[in-house]
Symmetry: C2
Subunit: 157 residues, 2 copies
DNA sequence: CGGTATCCACATGGATACTG
DNA sequence: CAGTATCCATGTGGATACCG
């Protein structure tokens, strides 16, 4: 099954729709970015993004519901609320960085600021890309979609 | 500037909002997936996604406008229209695969089908992640956001 | 501080019918 | 085949006021 031959029926078991259920709304990625940048409080995020309060409340609630953010009283001031990334939330970093890098390359044409760097040497991270199981960088031409069943049948031979 | 210390002002030059302008709508990623899966024609995409015709027309138009898809008469039948990924569109693959893998891990809990494989050995590609400039796989703890100016000042010392 | 409540505008989305 | 046109429902988003 080649990559450029259309699939008769696709998407039957693709996780993308499910992922988009959680992250598909316009503000979700921006709220997530705020979280990655260390913003934890409602007012902080609201003033930084300029998002309407009711929408922010709604989105934060949804992100908490799906387990991307965690809502806790602030340790140093129990009256305040703190939103933190869960492990599931942190796991969205490659997606977010990939999209940001794409925007840098094709939309703005210039590097974003602040930069995501490796703490060890303060060097900017590499472009996010697709690698083979043994670490070779792959181009679109090197890739193909295959049905799992077909691969298993082939492996069984 | 540590990763867990909040940034006073963020997002001033981040390309993410611009990227989301192009890809932020619910259907955009799914239409893109259809394109990656080799679907080229309006009716094909419409029946595969179950999207309303007017919305699909609108989204296809927008994706063409921003240069992610290219709209051409079909080579073998000039009466038909064909949508193909541009280079800019293909460049969204890491983002899409990263999001799909995240969904597999956290939302559906099972691998998607069809699988993206390396043509050479038909092995599924590796999980998309963030690497350092010299190819070390980085965890969230290894990362930090820094202002470009600060990095340049430091380098000049 | 971290929300709700309200109100309103517009965008998104779906269904269906029609067209070149 | 690849859309438009139309209609309608709901969702998203913004502004503002209010609240515990």
């Amino acid at each position: 099954m080649g990559l450029r031959e259309p699939l008769a029926q696709i998407a039957a078991e693709c996780s993308l729709p499910k992922a988009l259920e959680a992250m598909g709304e316009r503000w979700s990625f921006l709220i997530l970015r705020a979280a990655f940048n260390g913003l934890k409080h409602f007012e902080e995020i609201q003033s930084n993004l300029g998002i309407a309060r009711n929408i922010l409340a709604n989105r934060l609630g949804r992100l908490v519901d799906v387990g991307i953010l965690d809502r806790q009283p602030c340790p140093e001031d129990r009256r305040k609320i703190e939103y933190r990334l869960t492990e599931k939330g942190v796991d969205l970093l490659p997606t977010m960085i990939a999209l940001r890098q794409w925007g840098e390359k094709w939309e703005t044409g210039c590097p974003s600021n602040p930069v995501l760097v490796d703490k060890r040497d303060l060097e900017p991270v590499a472009d996010v890309r697709v690698f083979s199981h043994d670490g070779r960088a792959l181009e679109w031409e090197d890739l193909s979609f295959h049905w799992r069943e077909e691969l298993e049948a082939r492996a069984a031979e």
